[in-house]
Symmetry: C2
Subunit: 565 residues, 2 copies
């Protein structure tokens, strides 16, 4: 990087390089107009995808892995199909950052040759394309993370997760967009711009793994990797109608990825998968857990995939589970479609023979307060240090008009001393202790002899919002702070008839009033509705199993409804 | 606590209460004079212990558990014997803080009745007395932790570990002495005074679990619980010639115990056992791991005792292990007895058919530097906040003349901001990553096809030092910072003939020179010599198994030597 260049010049150069990395023959000239909001049907209609490309990209992970392992489909074919669809998605939503399809096809070709020569797959994810959030480093590829200052920062080695995924047989082909600093629940930065929601481009795709969310919704990847420090996997998953899993801390290797707030160890970001099927989530997690990554990342817990936990041995083998629904967190009442999503889930679970009770949230505001204090403890210094190098402006809002507002902004979070941080940690420790005891005490209410098996919670108090309106991550950050694994499941979509605005209720807080006022069904047209299934710390395998049960109940209910029609 | 009382008055009152808690008939009038340094033979000679008391207290944990489970010995008998011997130990070394033998005997009696009535033990530690470092809370008992300000602070509930130990059948009867702040490798505070080393009372028993070390050396407990943030279990174990284990973070529950530097989560203290046999260490760990304590402490990793790890499946089933010896850490050359201890271990392991190579320490000084920076980040504020209440003086040295020097001392550690702390965390993360990669790269040198299986390291650069001379914890803190489990094994004792001072070497550092100058065999008479066996993060089960192998090799060598004589 030449020192004399302005940040705008650096961005212009980087954008040219990005454009040049797109195969020319995949550049579309028939893109829908910006006023066309829901573009989810465009990829299959645009003419770029062959019938086989469409068949491949519509196949869930389980089917893809079977066809790849049996050489019915080559990795070249599968990688090409997803690459094409990813490039279409990018042209519709601006979801990609780094694009390295040549490299991916070379790898796919090697995998095909290996299978042909040996008759054996390299690993359980043999030949499967996987997209990566921008921060996950691949040797020789930039990890700008949307910071102008990091343009030209080519990774010197792979992240540990990249090595693990390649050992499993995966093909890596694109990286996806994020917000500046990663600490926003929407996706916009000065280098790559804004990612929009494929279901309604006037809405955000969420963040910080917003590029992944948009890509997934358009089936541009069978599995993607995001990161989640306060909801950054789950919010885009929910906003874009895909599955997404925030594992417990220390089970998926983070070493070698770049990050924001590095050294902030009190409430660590975790990597985890997004996928269009729950099977994709399981394949990813089971695969990564099999790789003994604690041998390569000292922060990974030495704990293999636990099949007993997956079989729900501690949850009555999953036969009659008791779920508890968080209807609201005591601070903000969710919008009508979110409540309807919870009701759909409740009905489906009851129909499947499970028990459903209400969850009274304990200290959610206080718990989220400790998270905010921890992130704010040094974030201003962190952000300003990074952006100082090229004087790119600090982004202080995700609103659309931000893009015209490029003056340098002060970074204003309150910094505290290490001793003061320790006091926050004490509060967090005590709140986690109380929450665990509170959960376990539900054994007297469930009728199963066990405490509540899993929580069912909104992912946010709203579906995808208009740009700049996603102001809170309280329904997700709570579970980062408690370190609970949580899996997002799509349930439905905003319905202009069913999801009418409700009469005014007694507001729980100022935020609740603002949230109530934000809602008009018309502003949230076609937005996906999702829930998250939440277990206790390190119950990752059990949460996947219980989410499968919830997902199957929802599917059975939908198919029952179809039959009834 | 009356606000008007001086700290000295508060201490005087507390000491009276402590004295009153000692059964009168066990107060000895025939104590050896203070000039008698090695008092390890006094307990059995003093006349207080019956022949059966002596037999019981000389029996290792495995034998005790067998006799207790089969009702050959009652818990009343066993608890009485260890209580008597603990009270003798206390009169010789000042090792106890809280004494609650009545309560213990009531519990023992209940356990005996249960066994009689049901024919079944309560758990695998049925009837076994276990001592606790002062900070581990029992409902209704003070947890002063040696702070005058905390006199009268009666615990409102049990620590999670206490509940787990009681569920396993243990009997709790005494708590043990610690230094003010816990952050010293010796043991002295204004409330309970100084604990001395039973092998040589002019030497320190080590710290911060120094009361445990002294108690163990005099066989006043079959198992004791200490805590280790920089060596606080291992240093007293080594100085007092007993076994001691620092587990990985997050495997033994800490919740509910009081602590110093609370909220300092970067480099947490861990609880772990001391015992006079390695079997005692294993019984404790296997028992605690069986208790699913993650259901009661959110910081415990959901990871059961792993029998495969204990069987050394990843270490060639333990058949031909490769150990690497740390002869010095690149900063301070250990004293002659410590080097001799390592040589003894090397010879024993070679004779047992294992391989032994030299370990070249990587960045030990830098790694320890991150630990010091972390502790110092807020310690001054932490200590001064606690002592302010009663104006007890801050202890700024462990030297004997400290006791005459009660003026208030300033607390001088450098405090840093949360952001600066994050920068230290980044260094620590990178250093841990490098160390792991360095260790794994030894696979090319071991000849076993595996990396080095375990390290053999000094526990300190010296055996127990004269009071106030234990200035560094570098040989232990390194493994806290790396979060490696480490188990201390006694090897020998300082020998006035074999452990002559060596000729001057080229000093590695100023500390090295000071350490060289400190040594004269006469000043370290009878001090135990120990080593520690170190594995990688969460290899707790494997470290216990490998330490058993080392211990057996040492015992075989000793018995071979006896045969040869």
């Amino acid at each position: 990087m030449a020192q004399s260049q302005t940040w705008q010049e650096l961005v212009a150069e980087k954008k040219l390089r990005q454009q040049a990395s797109i195969p020319k023959e995949w550049i579309l000239t028939n893109l829908p107009s910006q006023s066309e909001l829901n573009i989810t049907e465009f990829p299959e209609a645009c003419g770029l995808l062959s019938a086989k490309d469409i068949e491949i990209t519509n196949t869930h992970v389980g089917g893809l892995l079977e066809k790849l392992a049996s050489a019915q489909w080559s990795s070249m074919e599968v990688t090409t199909a997803f690459s094409k669809r990813a490039i279409i998605a990018h042209q519709l939503t601006n979801c990609l950052t780094e694009i390295f399809i040549d490299r991916a096809l070379a790898r796919a070709s090697e995998l095909d040759a290996h299978l042909k020569a040996t008759g054996k797959v390299v690993g359980p994810l043999h030949g499967l394309p996987i997209s990566l959030k921008d921060q996950i480093s691949l040797k020789g590829i930039e990890s700008t993370m949307g910071y102008v200052s990091w343009i030209g920062k080519y990774a010197e080695r792979n992240a540990v997760l990249v090595d693990a995924l390649e050992a499993l047989g995966a093909v890596l082909y694109v990286k996806t967009n994020i917000p500046q600093t990663l600490m926003w629940p929407e996706t916009f930065n000065h280098v790559f711009g804004r990612t929009v929601n494929p279901y309604n481009r006037s809405l955000t795709s969420g963040g910080s793994s917003g590029g992944e969310g948009a890509l997934m919704a358009l089936k541009g990847a069978p599995i993607g990797v995001g990161s989640d420090i306060g909801g950054s996997i789950r919010i885009p998953s929910a906003f874009c109608g895909t599955y997404g899993f925030r594992p417990s801390t220390g089970r998926v290797p983070y070493a070698g990825s770049v990050n924001s707030l590095e050294g902030q160890d009190s409430l660590p970001s975790v990597l985890g998968p997004l996928s269009n099927s729950i099977g994709g989530i399981k394949s990813f997690i089971q695969g990564v857990f099999s790789q003994s990554t604690w041998l390569r990342d000292p922060n990974v817990i030495r704990k293999k995939w636990d099949e007993d936990e997956y079989r729900l041995v501690e949850h009555g083998s999953g036969k009659k589970l008791c779920f508890a629904i968080i209807w609201n967190d005591g601070q903000v009442v969710p919008h009508p479609p979110i409540i309807r999503g919870l009701e759909i889930a409740k009905k489906a679970l009851l129909a499947a023979g499970h028990k459903v009770i209400d969850w009274k949230p304990l200290n959610h505001t206080k718990i989220n307060g400790t998270a905010t204090a921890i992130f704010g403890a040094g974030s201003a210094m962190d952000f300003s240090t990074v952006i100082a190098e090229t004087k790119e402006p600090y982004i202080s809002s995700m609103a659309l008009d931000q893009e015209d507002f490029f003056d340098e902004q002060p970074v204003t979070a309150a910094e505290i001393s290490a001793y003061e941080l320790w006091q926050v940690h004490k509060r967090k420790r005590d709140l986690r202790q109380e929450y665990l005891e509170y959960w376990l005490a539900t054994a007297s209410e469930t009728g199963t002899g066990r405490p509540v098996d899993a929580l069912i919670s909104p992912v946010a108090a709203y579906t995808a919002t208009p740009h700049g309106k996603n102001h809170s991550a309280h329904y997700t950050m709570i579970f980062n702070t408690l370190d609970y694994p949580a899996l997002v499941i799509p349930v439905s979509k905003v319905d202009q008839v069913l999801d009418q605005k409700k009469p005014v209720h007694e507001f729980l807080s100022k935020e609740d009033q603002a949230n109530y006022e934000l809602y008009e069904p018309g502003s949230f047209k076609d937005a996906p509705i999702s829930i998250q299934v939440v277990g206790r710390t390190h119950e990752d395998e059990a949460v996947i199993a219980m989410a499968e049960i919830v997902d199957a109940a929802l599917k059975a209910q939908r198919s029952g409804l179809k039959h009834a029609l």
